[in-house]
Symmetry: C2
Subunit: 179 residues, 2 copies
């Protein structure tokens, strides 16, 4: 419950905006309970929220999205998932990782290292999938980056505009990249 | 000077993390001077920083990057600019707009509207350029979104990893999209 509320609060207000008082109030728990689970305080909370958010997202990608017989259908499925769900969304795992990762560079080197590592694992999921679909190493590397940037970049602008139009626009480009 | 320091502080700490005391100290000015220029306080400061950052960025894109004889050379020039400058960068106009735009959804409707508007103008620059290069309206719309997402998405991951590798990987895809 603490991690769920912290996810929302970090998303809404960032690392500096998350106040412990507000978090305790939202969770309706005393300070002691918080420090029982998070003896190292706000930094530990941040790292656990990032790890949990990433693990959840990766498992969703692998188990529900990139599951079709060929690469194009799998990545279009991912785009279609975002097309169907982005409007009205106020929280999204991938955007949470993006906003905290940009912040992390100015936070401390441990936070930055954790975020850098998350990006490497995340992009590696795309690469490994393309390898499984039979692409050569160098082609998989290039296509994985193109798909990652194309989908993630469009997810950001769709989220900001609260409209799925940008995601609809790239549906065909995903197939072009893989053809 | 206030806007320069506010840009950095918003980038480092976000809307909630920017404390007026810290800003005044960095600028070495009294509170009265701040309210003389920003009678509406922190929100006005945020809106002016966003507008100024966007205007600067758009003018740089139009006057220094998308200036070649054909679309592919222009957009590769943009990628090459980021390849040459991203490593070691701690502040970047486009990432500033991204992080504040994600935050704006939870801030207030005026801030969100301003960020939405910035994204629309920003993406329109890509679209208008492709129209000038002779693409039809519907193709320009689709290719503009693909290029925007591809470049911006790769800029984010390159910034987080403080490495230009992801940008180098998409250089060829930019040409593929426009071929």
């Amino acid at each position: 419950m603490i991690l769920d509320e912290a996810f929302k609060l970090f998303f809404e207000k960032g690392y500096y905006g998350l106040g412990l008082q507000e978090l305790l109030k939202r969770c309706d728990i005393p300070k002691g309970s918080f420090y029982y689970y998070f003896p190292d305080g706000k930094n530990q909370l941040l790292y656990e929220v990032i790890e949990r958010t990433y693990t959840y997202m990766e498992s969703y990608i692998v188990n529900h999205l990139l599951i079709e017989d060929n690469a194009a259908d799998s990545f279009v499925k991912m785009v279609d998932h975002h097309i169907a769900t982005i409007e009205g969304r106020k929280y999204t795992a991938s955007l949470m990782l993006t906003r905290l990762s940009i912040e992390s560079l100015h936070l401390n080197s441990e936070a930055h290292q954790i975020c850098k590592n998350v990006y490497e694992r995340w992009q590696n999921v795309y690469y490994e999938k393309l390898m499984q679909y039979g692409y050569s190493e160098s082609v998989a590397r290039q296509k994985a980056q193109a798909l990652f940037a194309l989908i993630h970049g469009s997810l950001i602008s769709s989220f900001v505009k609260q409209s799925n139009e940008d995601l609809i626009l790239i549906r065909e480009e995903v197939r072009n990249i893989l053809s």
